[in-house]
Symmetry: C2
Subunit: 251 residues, 2 copies
């Protein structure tokens, strides 16, 4: 293995630490840094990446969060022996991007955009008054063509720059990206986990043979943090037999 690599960071996107993290991710993915390898000491690694040590540490911490690296005090930093390919539920990304990160091809069927008035339950979830206008999106997500989740999303119309901003939403678009472009980034979500038995409609949409239970993720999304307005409420029903839902917990 080439042990004398060094890299340059492209000067544009995100923070310097995240760019350094991306670069390390590539080096790991490409096998330059093989599983189990010890990385150079932090000052040396910082020098090679052209950043300061605190910035390098931010990058390494990010990769540790993704379970790609392990730090051992007084010993060194190592590439994980068996790195998990993607991240877990603790990280908030769009469903489509989540599927793509697993190495599968995301798709959408049965997309429908409607304008509705919030019923009491929905109003409570969105922290608005009942009867307030809301844009409702429903669609079924597929991974490599196999339906894995049915998704329903609701956005209060008054948070959009114009009421029809989502009317032309495309089947292959990312709702996260579209809302971010509209000035409604989804940075945080509080998610309730509920196992449910699918009804006939869900069985049909997900093409389920049995009535094995699904996992419902009921999520309130916030642009910055709770206390702000709820930007999006969603109910996503996952068929965990077809898509594994994992989570990394830290003490």
């Amino acid at each position: 293995m080439d042990t004398n690599w060094s890299v340059r960071l492209d000067p544009e996107t995100r923070t310097l630490g995240s760019r350094a993290a991306s670069r390390l991710r590539e080096l790991i993915r490409d096998g330059v840094l093989a599983p189990g390898t010890r990385l150079p000491a932090e000052p040396e690694l910082a020098r090679r990446l052209g950043v300061s040590r605190p910035t390098l540490r931010a990058a390494v911490t990010e990769l540790i969060g993704d379970l790609l690296l392990v730090r051992r005090r007084g010993v060194g930093t190592f590439v994980s022996a068996a790195p998990r390919p993607a991240h877990g539920l603790e990280r908030l990304t769009g469903t489509g991007r989540d599927i793509a990160l697993r190495g599968q091809r995301p798709g959408t069927t049965g997309l429908r955009v409607r304008h509705v008035l919030a019923n009491p339950a929905l109003a409570a979830a969105l922290c608005v008054e009942p009867g307030v206008p809301v844009v409702q999106l429903t669609r079924t997500r597929t991974a490599d063509g196999v339906p894995v989740a049915h998704c329903a999303d609701w956005v209060p119309t008054d948070l959009l720059p114009e009421p029809g901003a989502l009317d032309a939403f495309g089947a292959e678009e990312s709702l996260h990206d579209r809302l971010a472009a509209l000035g409604l980034p989804l940075r945080q979500a509080v998610t309730r986990l509920v196992p449910v038995v699918p009804d006939a409609d869900l069985r049909d949409r997900l093409d389920l043979a049995s009535d094995a239970p699904l996992l419902l993720l009921e999520q309130r999304h916030f642009p910055v943090a709770p206390g702000d307005r709820v930007a999006l409420f969603s109910r996503h029903w996952y068929d965990t037999a077809r898509i594994d839902l994992q989570l990394v917990r830290r003490g």
Copy 2:
């Protein structure tokens, strides 16, 4: 409200940033910093707490993670309007402590400690050879006397200082605390979420009337990080009708 407070940090525990975070937590809990209040600017706040600005920022970041504070660039840092009382699944604590943090009284019934040999499935989960000796704990957890989860835990015997180290495990003890005392802290877990229909045994142990689905948390616990030996494998079946399982996700 007193707006001219300043504090000293006790010099002992944890990192300086965490101690500063604790101090801020107290100020919020005691109402010195009321919900919605803007905090002093970071350099000023750092001065009052007697730490540098990066250290203060670590403290504030910690409290933002606990949803107690909100940062707005160019505006200020604010105490959350409606802080959530407890944390979600993204944080790893023992089941008992988790129940206590919800303000309920944790309890245990049907505790049983057995020495078994790993079958192939268990061996794979623990990353050991089939037939390796393992200590198995099973118990049902209650909150205010109501059964909320049935738990099965497995620890490879060779990781214990002596094979019988868990034989005298008490019904009201914390397995997390006991393992930490034995030199096996559980700092991280990779959790699979699986909705399941309870069998007759589970219905009986959890005193369930219906066969509404449960949420199974299948967890591999690591002392430091993946790549290490699996210190504990567990299967916990939660009745989400009796105990709400939530999760905070960040983008």
